[in-house]
Amino acid sequence: MLPPSSPLRARLSVLSILVLVLFVALSSRLWYLQVLAGERYGDLAEGNRVRQVVVEAPRGRILDAKGRVLVRNRAAWAVTVKPSELGDRRREVLGRLARVLGTTRAKLEARIADYTGSPLRGIPVAEDVPTRQLFYLTEHADRFPGVAPEVLALREYPSGVAAAHMLGYVGEISADELTQKRFRGYKAGDLVGKAGVELTYDRWLRGRDGVQDLEVNAAGEVVQALGGRPPAPGRDLQLTVDLELQQSVERALADGMRAARRLGDSQRGGTYPAPAATAVVLDPGDGDLLALASLPQYDPRRFVGGISRRDFARYAGSPGKPLLHRAVQSAYPPGSTWKPFTAVAGLEAGTITPTSTYTCPGSFTIGSYTKRDWTPRGHGTVALGDSLRLSCDVYYYNLGAALGVAERAQEERGQKVDEKLQATARQFGFGRLPALDLPYAAEGTVPTREWRKRFWEQNRKTYCAGSSELYRELCRDGWRWQGGDNLNIAIGQGDLQVSPLQLALGYGALANGGTVYRPHVGRAVLDPATGRVVRPVTPRVAGVAEVPGGALAAVGQGLASVVTGGTAASAFAGFPLDRFPVAGKTGTADLPPQAPFAWFASYAPVGDPRYVVVVMVEQGGHGGESAAPVARAIYQKLFELPVTPVAAGADRSG
């Protein structure tokens, strides 16, 4: 045994101290790691172990009024390519992939170049790929870097292109949309509605994505599923629109356009071009839109899985503007379909009575300014009823001029000008954005003195820079409300513009005693599992036109006579008006240098109106010859009568 005083003992003490120091170092570090920082490392371990995978919520379906499916989802196996992962093997990999998919490399490259979606996602280059090919790609994954099979939830349209504008389409959210308030809470790569009810009801349709927690090992293999939050599927949306009616309306419009194209244009020569047409079918009792058609329309199927650049360019560049929902998004001068509202203003103001008359020669002169009626022969002496039946312009020139005289007197007295024509128009919902569940609705224009001034101020520079006589006059006097302005508005021309939907709402108010409803295409949001109504879309009144009952009755009688013996009589020849009396007004709006726009606005049955039908054929000629026959076909469908082919009406009145 070593003696206590041995130098080895002293040195052993040094070694002992060294060993002790090492152990103290280890223990204190372990204390820090496991006791003090243990929680942080626990989180890190959990982050290692658990991967979260987003489970996409299926988007809700869109149903028609009778529960027919307009839009639904379909799971499709697609092959996606991430070009960034192809690197310098792009040519080789795409060539190999093309052989597997039975296509060509050039076509795959074209699909990649056409892609407009998020760069974070794989670009789908083939959809509905057979399982055998998918298996091959999965098994030989090492030979196909950046290529992956993926399930895409695609929108499917069992009813084809019907109601395309109303339904809209979905696409990946854009960077711009992500900053909008409407899309708060959305994230990049989300599919959102881009148009139609897909956009306005997006919050209901989209559902909420779920999360699946997966336990993964170091190799990234899934060991087990740990639960998470299941996706909440989007709600179904039921529309007020009836698919059968919608299809029928679209057919009638197409027939009407074809018929108009065979009509000779006496003014411009040749036939009417009739490049587009639109129709609105509205329930005047609650604002339900039963059909809403706009031709030409796009094929929503082209937007499925992201529209290609080429297709989009073709739609955007087409002269027929198929992406435009004319019934809602366009405003036009209403022409003679406007006369009932002028008449109501006159009756309200006491300028006319239902029986008071104006002489109706072929023209009307105010100061140095002469306006012509649509027929140089004139109509003789007419009261309110005949003024509508025959669509006498001079009657309304007189009325507009008379109102103008009163307004001029107010101006001279320094009073506030009451602008009766415009006030009535606003009461019927014109010149205001209709509170509608479809996007990008047109506001239209009801020109007033104030509007005129504002417009002039905006365009003054242009006017005053011009050298022509007209521009010099506009520069000087453009702000001034002139006598001719009242005449123009009185017959629905000039700066007055309304959307077909607004006109339908106005006619609805004429039919129901003055109530302007908020129009809507959505009927209810449904629970997809049970079909139970989650949220009904209740009818709401946008405003009430306070018009004496006698005035509406008088106008109504006049409108009924238009169909029985007036400008729309030939179009409705043979229609059982005794059983289903229709009241309406033809219109022929001039928008030179284009051919006139044909209008027919109406409601039926008279006495108990259930439907408002407005038809407009762009550059389709006269209302009686091109628009009224389409309305007739729509009424045949509405009243469950045999639908006869749309033939041009004989009436060439204004």
């Binding site: 045994m1 003696p3 052993l12 070694l15 060294l18 006791v35 243990g38 336990e215 170091a218």
Partner: protein
């Protein structure tokens, strides 16, 4: 000081063995002086290792369709062999080793030389194995014990502190062995040899200035190895990654290993996630877990508590080892024990230190705990020598 050594031998020479001691002859029978604490601590540590090995391998084995306990059972067999080797090492009087030290050293040099020839096999870039049938033998593990014996024999040959000649002889012997190790190359084992040399020199009573000079040479030598490309790229990377953890964070680098080890141990918390419940362990986030990173299993599943139990068992064993060095009857025995203690302490510190981010990553096993036959058997051989010194402290 020399007096007391002398006085004891004087008593022996004057009175004979029997009379030199106050106690009866039978008391001096070696087996009576076995230190059970050392053996128990060694076996307890190995048992802890077996548990950890099972935990880190059962899931992978199950996935491969193999018996879940097969790797643990192999280690159990290694333990059996280790205990047998330990018993043999206890039976033979350690003092006879002093005479055979030259042979031991020769065997070490030859074995380490042979492993470099095509007879040896390579793993992880180091030519360090002999394939013997189904068994793999890593001569460098046994060479550590050989080096301890050699150093203790040279430096403890006489009672007085070693002079320049014995120091030179010890250094020369170690230099030869270290060159062979670095040729494999096995930087981790090389460091263990350097530590053993330092520990034995320290206890042998070599003048402190010699030690300082040696430490200086060591530092210069380390820098030189970096400069002269003695180290492989990956070894440099490991060392520099430790110094600057941000240098390589590209996924599966050395900091990946280090990071996953830290996460495993840290996430164990105070009481651990429960045996067989470690997610880092079961999902194989920690690489080389059953061997070099075995401590992460204990840290994760048994927490700070388990880590401390392991450290205390090691401390207990090392404390007994230091005591054995102190009570050894001769300098050879004392240096033998000191060498074993240094080896175990250094390996334990570097191994655990690398899993908790205070040491660079080197392939040094955790004594008793890491999976591996040669390491476990050689460690039990060392324990046997330790006991041997203790058992014969009165003879």
């Amino acid at each position: 000081m020399q007096e007391s050594w002398g006085s004891y031998s004087d008593r022996v020479s004057r009175l004979g063995w029997e009379a030199a001691s106050d106690r009866p002859m039978a008391w001096r029978a070696p087996w009576r002086h076995l230190d059970p604490t050392v053996v128990l601590a060694a076996v307890a540590l190995t048992a802890l290792g077996l548990l950890a090995i099972y935990s880190s391998t059962f899931a992978g084995l199950r996935a491969q369709g193999l018996p879940e306990a097969s790797i643990m059972r192999r280690q159990l067999l290694n333990l059996g062999l280790g205990v047998a080797v330990m018993v043999v090492a206890m039976v033979i009087d350690y003092r006879r080793l002093q005479a055979w030290a030259g042979v031991v050293f020769g065997a070490v040099v030859v074995a380490l030389g042979l492993v470099l020839t095509p007879l040896g096999s390579a793993t992880n870039g180091a030519q360090s194995w002999f394939e013997l049938g189904a068994y793999q033998v890593q001569p460098s593990e046994y060479a550590k014990i050989g080096a301890i014996i050699t150093l203790a024999a040279v430096l403890g040959a006489r009672r007085e502190a070693p002079g320049p000649r014995r120091l030179a002889a010890a250094l020369a012997a170690m230099a030869l062995v270290c060159v062979e190790i670095l040729l494999q190359p096995d930087f981790g084992t090389f460091m263990v040899f350097v530590a053993i040399l330092f520990g034995v020199l320290l206890v042998s009573g070599v003048q402190l200035r010699w030690l300082l000079v040696l430490a200086l040479v060591g530092v210069v030598g380390t820098v030189g190895m970096f400069k002269l490309n003695v180290l492989r790229e990956y070894q440099k990377e490991r060392l520099t990654a430790f110094i600057d953890p941000g240098a390589d964070d590209s996924g599966r680098g050395f900091t990946y290993n280090s990071r996953q080890a830290l996460i495993a141990i840290g996430s164990g918390g105070v009481t651990g996630k429960g045996y067989l419940r470690g997610t880092q362990t079961n999902l194989q986030y920690v690489p080389e877990q059953k061997t070099d990173f075995i401590f992460t299993v204990i840290g994760e599943e048994l927490g700070f508590t388990g880590s401390m139990v392991l450290l205390l068992l090691l401390a207990l064993l090392l404390w007994r080892g230091l005591r054995i060095a102190a009570v050894a009857r001769d300098p050879f025995g004392a240096l033998l024990a000191a060498g074993v203690v240094t080896m175990l302490a250094f390996q334990a510190f570097v191994n655990i230190g690398m899993t908790i981010g205070i040491m660079p990553i080197t392939g040094i096993p955790l004594p008793f705990v890491s999976y591996g036959g040669s390491s476990l058997i050689a460690t039990f051989l060392a324990v046997g020598l330790l006991e041997n010194v203790h058992m014969r402290r009165y003879l």
